[in-house]
């Protein structure tokens, strides 16, 4: 399946990406080739086959709900690109 430039732009927006104009044509072509190859999956006979979410152990993993000390804001916010005291600072959300 081929993918159009406008589709790529729409998907990029959903993923919060902004592809540079100079890269766009190439990206559209490469994605088209990859998706075309992936279309191969349509030939596989999957009638009655169950979904698999991976190789993880299938039983539930439970534990006691025990209170443990939290590392605290000093640790949690140590890598914040912008902070004010114990808060993350972000651009204005409500205008």
């Amino acid at each position: 399946m081929k993918i159009s430039k406008s589709e790529v732009e729409k998907i990029a927006h959903l993923a919060r990406l902004e592809i540079e104009d100079s890269q766009k044509e190439k990206m559209v072509e490469q994605l088209g080739n990859i998706l075309q190859y992936i279309d191969k999956l349509k030939d596989a006979n999957i009638d009655g086959v169950r979904l698999s979410s991976g190789a993880a152990i299938m039983n539930n993993v439970l534990r006691e709900d025990v209170v443990e000390a939290s590392p605290g804001p000093c640790v949690t916010l140590a890598n914040a690109p912008d902070r004010d005291d114990d808060f993350y600072v972000v651009p204005r959300v409500v205008k």
Binding site: E7, A15, L41, L51, S52, N79, D82
Partner: protein
């Protein structure tokens, strides 16, 4: 033997017998790094002072008679494993200044056993790639010939071991990222069973496929590291509770003829795969003959869904990646583009400047495949194909104990050769992806060289939680293959 040529096994022996100190050993590696690192580019971070400090501490422990499994042994870590106080970049600009506030479980385990963390190795950004050319920092070169790639994504970890910058390293494997660079660099690499090793503190790429494993000079070293890093961890709910056997013990009791009666499966679909290089085929056939001579019985097996493996993988992995990488939004950690006044614009600029092109490509494929109207056709279908692939292996293991195959269809390629064509790059993963899809273990062991002198490995894949059979078969193979040259010549 020079210090920097020592395996973990022999270094431990010499340290225990006080023939060398950890300080001397660590210094020997650091001085090699100083001399040759510019040519190889294996590391993103080397903290000389911290490494020597740990070495001195190890020497004090040794003097006090407290010797653990890895006391004083210098080990490098792929820069996607969180190390408290040492920056962990994942090869990405977006985590350029990220300093983890905690150690990943494997890192704590290594430290508890006394290992010296010598540095953090280069990788394809967020482990997405097969050549280590997708790093935002540098291109790692193959120590055997610096015009060639070391493989990837754990290319830095494999090159560091081959270039003798450390005794061993840890890598991660989501679709072959330990086994393929190990094969290209002439070292041993093992991807354990999914769940064998805790992923806590491994920065996620594709959570249902990622696994941490050792890259070492020989099979016994891989067993030593596997002993240390395996086991259930309450911080990773997907880590398995299966008992961990003593992997080295079986190798130490290994006797001549020990492989007799083992059954190896040869997948007929692999040898008819398109684009298999004649030199790889030659090495593979030689390996097959050698194992037969050692008493291994060869059986043809079938993995009928092999032709769908690459397509299914390149849906599932990008889908998981698009979800996992959504967290890099410039708010809680990592790079933020500070030029935007608007929140959505800030997200977009942060991600687009922070992520490289391959990462962006995979996020877009994943977002596309998971978007309304496409989910069933892509993700749903791929997970069903994954079930079929897993069943192929269960059926195969009814008649064999391990599966023997090449690691990659060709020896290492030249730097830049495939960077413009991601699909061709993806297709080189054909022999390694299945083990991740099925959650089974796989090992890559050096088996020969190309006419250009580049190493070629062979792969053995085993039943879930049966790393032991792979280590035994790999060990027996390694003892008898008689490779002419163990190390590349860097001088």
């Amino acid at each position: 033997m020079e210090y920097h040529e020592l395996t973990i096994g022999s270094a431990i022996e010499q340290i225990t017998r006080r023939k060398i100190s950890s300080f001397e050993l660590t210094s020997a590696f650091l001085s090699r790094i100083e001399t040759y690192e510019d040519r190889i580019g294996a590391f993103i971070t080397v903290d000389k002072e911290k490494a020597l400090e740990q070495a001195q501490k190890a020497d004090q422990e040794i003097a006090a008679g407290r010797i653990s499994a890895l006391t004083g042994i210098p080990i490098a870590l792929k820069d996607i494993l969180c190390t408290k106080g040492i920056k962990t970049t994942c090869g990405s600009r977006i985590l350029e200044n990220f300093v983890p506030q905690y150690d990943g479980t494997v890192v704590s385990k290594l430290k508890n056993e006394g290992a010296v963390i010598i540095g953090k190795t280069n990788l394809d950004e967020f482990a997405m790639g097969s050549s280590t050319e997708n790093s935002s920092y540098k291109i790692t070169k193959n120590p055997w010939n610096q015009e060639y790639v070391p493989g990837g994504s754990s290319g830095g970890s494999a090159a560091a071991v081959a270039a003798q910058f450390c005794c061993a390293s840890l890598g991660t494997d989501t679709g072959g990222s330990i086994r393929q660079p190990a094969s290209h660099c002439g070292v041993v690499g093992i991807k354990p069973t999914y769940g064998r090793v805790s992923r806590f503190g491994l920065v996620s790429y594709a959570s249902s496929l990622d696994q941490i494993g050792p890259i070492t000079r020989d099979v016994r070293d891989a067993a030593i590291l596997l002993n240390v890093i395996s086991g259930n961890d309450k911080l990773d709910s997907t880590s398995a509770k299966n008992p961990v056997p003593d992997f080295t013990k079986a190798l130490d009791q290994f006797e001549k003829g020990a492989l007799k009666g083992m059954r190896a499966g040869i997948p007929k679909e692999y040898l008819s795969a398109e684009g298999i290089d004649p030199e790889v085929e030659k090495v593979f056939l030689h390996a097959k003959t050698l194992l037969t001579d050692l008493g291994v019985e060869m059986r043809e097996i079938s993995l009928p869904h092999t032709e769908y493996v690459v397509a299914a993988y390149y849906i599932i992995a990008p889908c998981e990646a698009s979800s996992n990488l959504a967290r890099y939004d410039g708010v809680k950690y990592g790079f933020r583009d500070k030029s935007s006044e608007d929140l959505i614009e800030m997200y977009k600029k942060t991600k687009s400047k922070g992520f490289g092109l391959e990462v962006q490509r995979r996020i877009i494929i994943g977002t596309y495949a998971l978007s309304a109207g496409y989910y069933d056709a892509y993700y749903g279908r791929a997970t069903k194909v994954r079930t079929l692939i897993t069943e192929d292996f269960s059926n195969a293991f009814e008649t064999c104990d391990f599966i023997l195959s090449p690691v990659a269809p060709a020896p290492a390629f030249k730097i830049g050769e495939k960077t413009d064509d991601p699909l061709t790059m993806y297709l080189t993963d054909i022999f390694t992806l299945s083990a991740n899809m099925a959650g089974i273990p796989g090992i890559s062991v050096p088996a020969g060289y190309s006419s250009k002198g580049l190493p070629i490995g062979i792969q053995m894949m085993g039943r879930k939680f049966d790393e032991m059979s792979l280590l035994r078969a790999g060990y027996g193979f390694e003892q008898n293959i008689g490779l002419s040259k163990k190390f590349p010549d860097l001088s």
